[in-house]
């Protein structure tokens, strides 16, 4: 029972559910849907260029994070036969400071640590942790509970899932979009 409300601002097609906290210094471009209880910090950027982005509930998108649905490198915006793919992000994910995600499908309870870089053809399932500064650009489905860490992007499977984030209510004293 999310009450979607359209915002009367320059970003015409962003739909933000009630209970979400989106700071005015964040940049949201294109057709973006943000679920309830998701927090978007200032200087975060969510850019839906080549298709819409749907973000689920309870996510945390920290400063300078970049979630971008962009055209693949060898395709220009005008070429024919390019269909708009929707980028889906599940619930309770954490996008830490400075990370960049182009992955088209992200499940639930994942953590993308600071300055990590996800390619477009990756699919994260659930409970995955992409370590800080890890650049992963493979064409694969990352199995559940995988941890990618280290300068060589080593992998291991964790048996303990970190407790679901008690998302902090968001930065204080920062102008926010009203979502009611």
């Amino acid at each position: 029972s999310d009450k979607m409300s359209d915002k009367q601002s320059a970003q015409k097609s962003a739909k933000i559910a009630s209970g979400a906290v989106v700071c005015v210094e964040s940049e949201i471009r294109g057709d973006v849907t943000i679920g309830a209880r998701t927090v978007v910090h200032p200087k975060a950027r969510i850019i839906a260029e080549a298709g819409p982005i749907v973000i689920g509930e309870g996510n945390l998108i920290e400063e300078q994070a970049l979630i971008i649905n962009s055209y693949p490198e060898n395709i220009t915006p005008d070429s024919e036969g390019v269909e708009a793919k929707t980028m889906t992000i599940g619930i309770n994910n954490v996008f830490e400071v400075g990370c960049m995600s182009q992955a088209l499908k992200i499940g639930d309870n994942n953590v993308i640590e600071s300055k990590a870089d996800l390619g477009r053809n990756m699919i994260l399932t659930s409970g995955c942790i992409i370590g800080a500064c890890c650049q992963v650009n493979t064409c694969e489905v990352i199995p559940e509970n995988t941890v990618i860490f280290g300068s060589g992007c080593q992998r291991r499977v964790q048996t303990e899932r970190p407790q679901p984030q008690t998302l902090h209510p968001g930065p204080k004293n920062v102008p926010l979009w009203h979502s009611e």
Partner: protein, 468 residues
């Protein structure tokens, strides 16, 4: 431009057992021998042991007992990061009333880098924050300890015999009872530290120590020889057909960091105690004076004794290089910095033909012929605005600029080789040095200034490639 300041572009030659060329920042200066020393011509001694994560000092005897490992800190077996202790609340039945449950704190180890936890290998949570974690016992420990004891005794016996023979032969001459070879034999099996620190001038006392030990330790240690087996455990039947569970296989590095277990599966990777680090002191091999002695406290980075070369020897640095052309004269700007507080006079001399130290230069160099004068380093100079600048009458063709204790000067370089690779030039720098170490003979004239001696160093500069 910052690449010109890289330390390995200017190398100083050290005359030791090996001729070593290295940047001044890595060298030491023995002011008793008045010579440069590199890390390879000094003896390194262990000063103290400390743990890098809890910064706790540990006396050497205790360190040896604990095999150089910290008692409190653990390393992640997966990524070798330091493990931190985390607490959770778990419901546990109250001791008085088993039907009610209360929240109790349980502690487990977790790695912040790879998210490994002690629960991954089945280690139960402990109720105390520290001290509850044990490393698993190795079934072979007893046998190994017995073998070590036996071999230590054997080595000691061999050493005694060898030294007795040596002493008998050398009695007419100065007795030099301990050769380098016997010391290594002892060190091989880790016998007591008493025998390891030998100075070449003290043979008699050490012999006395040995005879005492001989009296004590007469009990024979017998070991059973290892038995060879005919049959070996066969491989499992599905060895070739079972699919590999890749996350479960340990990497070579993870396996070999635990040499006593070498687990093949990640579920047997137990955390190990953290390795201790050492603080070391350096000693000149010729005069036995300390060149570097750190402070005892692990949290302090200062030194009690710090005879580094950059505080005594003027340092040459490259400031700017024009485009270098084959067989064309180019002018390179260098700087000379004076680290001491008195005025220093520096003369530069080019290397002669056939100089045995000049092996790397690929260009001819013309250095200034006049003596360069460097002002003393004055720590208060930047605050003292009324100080008059000293007038040194610099030749503008030679000295480009002068700034407190630093001058910039020109050298002319003519590259001689057209091939790829850096243009290298070398020259000798001769400067006066006032030795402030305590004089051996007390001076009679009261406060006579220390005498100056002249030191010469061979310097090599790497100027970069030729630009066609």
């Amino acid at each position: 431009m910052a690449s010109l300041l890289q330390p390995d572009r200017v190398l100083y030659l050290v005359h030791g057992e090996k001729k070593i060329r290295s940047p001044l920042s890595t060298l030491y200066f023995c002011r008793y021998c008045s010579e440069l020393r590199s890390l390879e011509c000094v003896s390194h001694e262990v000063d103290s042991h400390y743990c890098p994560s809890c910064l706790e000092n540990m006396p050497s005897a205790e360190a040896k007992l604990k095999k150089n490992r910290c008692a409190n800190c653990f390393d992640c077996p997966c990524c070798m990061h330091t493990l931190s202790t985390r607490a959770t609340n778990i419901p546990a039945p109250l001791p008085d009333d088993p039907s009610k449950t209360a929240m109790k704190k349980a502690y487990y180890l977790a790695c912040g880098f790879c998210r490994w936890t002690s629960r991954d290998v089945g280690m139960a949570d402990k109720s105390v924050a520290s001290g509850g974690w044990q490393e698993p016992d190795n079934p072979h420990t007893q046998r190994i300890n017995k073998l070590i004891e036996y071999y230590q005794q054997l080595a000691q016996r061999e050493k005694l015999e060898r030294d007795r023979k040596k002493l008998a032969r050398r009695r007419p001459y100065m007795p030099l009872a301990f050769s380098q070879h016997t010391i290594h034999v002892v060190e091989k099996y880790g016998l007591g530290t008493r025998l390891q620190r030998q100075r070449p001038g003290a043979p008699i006392t050490s012999l006395a120590g040995l005879s005492l030990k001989e009296g004590e330790d007469q009990k024979e240690i017998n070991i059973e020889p290892a038995q060879a087996l005919d049959e070996v455990e066969p491989l499992p039947e599905d060895c070739y057909t079972r699919p590999i569970n890749l996350p479960e296989v340990t990497s070579l590095r993870q396996r070999l960091l635990q040499p006593d277990f070498q687990p093949a599966g990640a579920s047997q990777l137990h955390p190990k105690h953290k390795h201790l680090l050492i603080k070391r002191s350096l000693r000149c091999r010729k005069c036995e004076h300390n060149l570097s002695k750190p402070e005892f406290n692990p949290t302090s980075i200062k030194f009690k004794i710090q005879l580094v070369a950059v505080s005594y020897i003027p340092e040459v640095r490259i400031m700017s290089i024009p485009n270098l052309r084959f067989q064309k004269e180019c002018q390179v700007l260098l700087t000379l910095t004076n680290p001491v507080e008195n005025i220093t006079h520096v003369t530069l001399v080019g290397c002669e033909e056939g100089d045995p130290e000049d092996i790397n230069s690929t260009a001819k160099v013309m250095v200034p012929t006049k003596e360069l004068v460097l002002a003393g380093k004055d720590a208060a100079a930047e605050y003292d605005e009324l100080a008059e600048p000293q007038d040194f009458q610099d030749d503008p063709d030679v000295v480009a600029f002068r700034k407190s204790n630093k001058i910039g000067f020109f050298i002319k370089v003519v590259p001689q080789r057209e091939e790829d690779g850096d243009v290298t030039v070398s020259f000798k720098i001769r400067h006066d040095f006032r030795n402030l170490a305590a004089p051996i003979r007390p001076s009679e004239e009261g406060d006579a200034p220390a005498e100056a001696i002249w030191l010469t160093h061979h310097v090599e500069l790497s100027l970069g490639p030729i630009i066609a």
